[in-house]
Symmetry: C2
Subunit: 259 residues, 2 copies
């Protein structure tokens, strides 16, 4: 999870180009690669908190890339129930190649005010045609995204409320750390207890009580949108967290050689 000095020199904690550092968790990128990523990020827009980036039923026309802020993917049931099926933090792509599909089967919403790049199919094609290492890294990104989705399935299916919340907190902390948005057990944490409830399949009342338990056990502090994990190792332990699904061990580092 080390961050290339070239990048980290430029950025302060909590800001800066997360995309490159996210992809560089997989493979080292050349400065040309980084320039190309910056290029496709030029065309961006802001989406207010609690608004949709794109809604279920819409025709997808771009790949979205989260430059700043938090977002989520969610699905709604006819009876009004809502499930957040994934969370986006800076550096996350929302569905590489979605535009193949005719219509969105879920919505993408902003948790905080969101800065998202809109990348056209043509730009994506050019990017992958010209930059094989970015292509590899994007595939890695896709595979990790799928692995996270599977882990959430496991989380909802088999873990208790306490384990489930613990697991989610650890995952988000590690994902933020990978893009230089977390350190020393601390990170921004803009999710409300309601959001947490929708993400974990619990009610917000029960989330509240369970967070209190986690605090009582001196595993976390969480207030004013700031998370502090007091004992990461123990929290990972009680939530049966296995980092393997995040594939954060620079698996593509052997690709560094070619230009």
């Amino acid at each position: 999870m080390s961050v290339p000095t070239v990048v980290s020199r430029e950025i302060a904690f909590g800001s800066g180009p997360a995309v490159a550092s996210k992809l560089e968790a997989f493979t080292k990128l050349s400065s040309d690669d980084r320039t190309a990523l910056a290029q496709v990020s030029r065309n961006f827009r802001y989406v207010d908190a609690r608004r949709d980036v794109i809604s279920e039923g819409d025709k997808p026309r771009h790949v979205h890339l989260v430059l700043d802020g938090w977002g989520c993917r969610y699905k709604q049931l006819p009876d009004g129930k809502r499930q957040i099926v994934s969370l986006f933090v800076p550096g996350d792509f929302c569905d590489v190649n979605v535009y193949i599909l005719r219509s969105m089967d879920h919505s993408i919403g902003a948790i905080t005010r969101l800065k998202v790049a809109m990348i056209t199919p043509e730009e994506m094609n050019a990017l992958t045609a010209e930059r094989p290492r970015i292509t590899q890294a994007l595939w890695w990104h896709e595979l990790v995204t799928q692995a996270i989705q599977r882990e959430w399935t496991l989380n909802l299916g088999q873990r208790s409320a306490y384990e489930r919340l613990g697991h989610l907190l650890v995952e988000l902390y590690l994902r933020l750390a990978a893009v230089n948005r977390a350190a020393d057990g601390r990170c921004d944490f803009p999710l409300t207890q309601n959001d947490l409830a929708d993400a974990t399949g619990l009610t917000s009342v029960h989330v509240n009580r369970t967070l209190q338990e986690l605090r009582r056990d001196e595993l976390i502090e969480l207030e004013r949108k700031q998370l502090h994990i007091l004992d990461l190792e123990r929290l990972m332990d009680v939530s049966m967290f296995n980092t393997n699904y995040l594939h954060l061990d620079h698996e593509g580092r052997h690709l560094d050689a070619n230009a």
Copy 2:
């Protein structure tokens, strides 16, 4: 969900090349495309029921393609709990491009005796380099696989046991129908109640009671590994089933023109 006549003419219910028909739910393939798919399916092996095709921790070396039988992806927790995170039916690819990753974060197991093709990275590269329509179709396959995983997340997070099981039965029925393995509300259904429990995050005792409810409500018959959905429309209704996530509407049909 119509099946191209060219294919359906050749195959009997319950057997035949499922891959082509699965991909042709997205776009029409040329006979060259179909030949290429048959080529990469030459190298296959059988895996006995209840054995792993590949286990968590293993280094992935091939893309697996289910030629016949049912399989699943599952994850296990240190406390012994097990979650089936996805199911495979004939025609399903298991993780296009997995070999990018260093080690499997989950296991792939056989539910029934399984016939799986093992496709090398080289073969995959050749296939995608030479056959753009297959490449598109594989991307569609990936996107649908992800959509299914999201729907399972929703299923586990927000639906009751009754809805959850109903939803799963409908999904499997529709997926089997798409590869010509189901019709008239009937299909093979080799899952035990234990498997269903692991897939839905319930106990097998509760699965048993809930299936009885579904039978009592005259929605399904299920015995001797045969499923009969008596009233598909009503079952979809009570389980809040929205077919949109399966993207079965031949979205890539505009690609038919090129050779």
